[in-house]
Amino acid sequence: MSVSTIKVRKIGCRFHPPALILFYIDLKTNKTRRRTHPIENLSVNTNVTDYARELQESETNKSNLFKFIPLRRLERLIFVLKNGSCKNQPISTIKNHLESYDRLDLDEDLNKLDDDTLKHKKSIMNELFEKNLVTKEDKNYKYDIDVDFTTNQQLQASEWDSDNEDDE
């Protein structure tokens, strides 16, 4: 099954028993279909990002539909499932947690986060990286790119230095 033959409509999850539910249109027949994928071996110790990535890359299932879903989206769903299905948290609690889990706070020291959250924040940062990425396969790729930013412009002192906590 290729990208051109299906169109993902929506994806959600079910807590008991845990499953991801995917609605998509089969473009060959123009029919809407539903796929229920049981989520196994999920526990309070599961790393969300690793689990999501495995789902996405799984080769055992020939028609793996998860490869059409952005990683960040899958992580969110697994996060919800882990908290709802394994930790039995109420929806309102999960919602709050999900919001901070899925937000990149630029002032946060990422070194202080737990593994699970850190990996997800890295996925979020990776989205931007992928967006601006120029690879060897791109026509305008050059290995050695020198850019001189200092010519013809006056450098201003960075406001990051202006805090009084800074020495001098």
Binding site: L110, K112, L118, V134, I145, V147, T150
Partner: protein
């Protein structure tokens, strides 16, 4: 990120500088990958919480093997084991153009480095300039007060990445060859003038 070049114990003509890198999730591994391109792949084996990458190049006509050391997340435990800096020949300190805290943390990392390696040459780089080009119009106290050249780089689009690593290798080599601090200062000044 910090990059270190480490001495080989033997007397063979090749250097084994090690660039190890630090960071606060600033994209150090991605920078290394951008520099090494194809040779980055297949080299990732994590032992002792660090990844070592080998890079062959010619310095002053001599075949040289450079080793880059990349931490595998140990910076998250707030300090880096001193053995990590052991025998390092140069260091790159990297912060993230989009996250001030990574810049603020540099002072602490730098202190730790200097306790272990008081004299190795250091370079400073700000990564992810593709996400915020305005940062290239700024100057920063940290590299200035510690006499480091500053590089504006992007692991995503490749800006100045190769330049950064080549200069680091050059400085590491000068240090390893026992060139005087004067000479290293001279190179540093020359790089500072160009400031990428």
């Amino acid at each position: 990120m910090h990059l270190t070049l480490v001495q080989t114990p033997d007397k063979t003509p090749h250097v084994t500088p090690v660039t190890d890198s630090w960071g606060n999730q600033v994209g150090k591994s991605k920078l290394l990958e951008r520099f090494l391109v194809d040779s980055y792949k297949g080299q990732q084996h994590s032992t002792y919480a660090l990844n070592i990458f080998k890079y062959s190049t010619k310095i002053e006509g001599k075949n040289t093997v450079v080793e880059f050391w990349d931490t595998a997340g140990q910076e998250r435990f707030n300090n880096i084991h001193p053995s990590y800096f052991h025998q390092a020949h140069a260091c790159i300190m990297i912060f993230d153009a989009t996250r001030k805290i990574t810049y603020k943390n540099l002072d602490r990392w730098y202190q730790e480095l200097r306790e272990a390696r008081p004299a190795i040459p250091c370079l400073c780089a700000v990564n992810k300039i593709d996400a915020d080009l305005n940062i290239t119009k700024k100057n920063f106290k940290f590299p200035k007060k510690n006499d480091m050249p500053l590089y504006f780089v992007s692991a995503a689009d490749g800006s100045n990445v190769v330049r950064l690593f080549r200069d680091a290798i050059r400085l590491a080599y000068a240090y390893k060859s026992g060139d005087s601090q004067d000479f290293i200062d001279q190179i540093l000044r020359e790089l500072e003038v160009r400031e990428y």
